[in-house]
Amino acid sequence: MSHSEAIAPRAQESADLPLVVGGHVLASRLIVGTGKYATYEEMARCLEASGTDCVTVAVRRERLVNTAGENILDHLDASRYALLPNTAGCYSAADAVRVARLGRELLRDMGSRSSEWVKLEVLGDTKTLLPDPVGTLTATEQLVADGFAVLVYTSDDPVIARRLKDLGAASVMPAGSPIGSGQGLLNPNNLRICLEYLKDGDPTYPVIVDAGVGTASDVAEVMELGADGVLLNTAIAHAQDPVRMAGAMRAACLAGRLAFLAGRIPRRLYATASSPDEGRIARPS
């Protein structure tokens, strides 16, 4: 390998394994939501800039008026992006299971390569959008039994995270902070424990931080801690310059992943000199 190849980011990236989740191989470790963009054109440019190859979509009633209106699928190349339907807005396990099945049917009807998976959300509260842990466990169990690969949004509680994995979730996706809040990773210690529990004896089990990202450093932080991926939406869609932020998220995800793989130095209370003590012309008094 030549020197230039050795330092090229591309060569470093290729040394990493792809993210495999729910039977799908994803080249990018960013999963990007498709909500809240000013226009579909801007959404498409952001997805491009983010480097993602997996995007989330929501399932909603088709409008009974203005049916000539645009559909998001007119602006999403389903051969390029794996579509991951969510159950956003569901406040019971039963509703989430219904929505998951409708999303699966939409994908099957499209002939999608990724029809048998779902991003499960069972929410407990409209103000915080925090997950209902009991409903989330119930829906996970039912959807796994129905053949779904369940990527499950949950809190950063390590005990619930472990129970979701035990029920057969394809990926456990702890929130960094409340959805759309932009507060970043509020409890790094809980995420550390989630990662330790979920990857114990199963190092490739995918743990994806879903929700709460505010800016690029939040993405880098969770990737440095060893998360396998990050799912975000608002931090790009509502940035002052969404396309530029999408590029920042891409870079941060790669940087954080590389730093995790490289292995950071331990934190020390006191300094350690980088220049040699030997040969100094003067000494500390």
Partner: protein, 78 residues
């Protein structure tokens, strides 16, 4: 699709689509309803009384009236 000319009210049936009442001629299939609503060929999934009905079974699914029908599509979301 209400108020078709020349069809008496007693020859119509009523179903609930996405929370609102819709009427259709007696003998209509789910395929007929989807077409009359303008959704043919669009990316949709359909649930009738809680069960998802694949597109291939629309024509064979005859409506009797009173069905609770949801017709959904994908929208942007996170």
């Amino acid at each position: 699709m209400s108020g078709g000319h020349g069809i008496d009210a007693q020859d119509m049936l009523t179903v609930t689509v996405n929370g609102g009442a819709e009427s259709a001629p007696v003998g209509s299939s789910l395929h007929d309803l989807v077409e009359a609503l303008g959704f043919a060929g669009r990316p949709i999934a359909v649930e009738v009384n809680g069960d998802v009905i694949p597109r291939a079974r629309f024509a064979g699914r005859h409506l009797v009236g009173g069905e609770q029908i949801e017709i959904v599509t994908f929208v942007g979301g996170g």
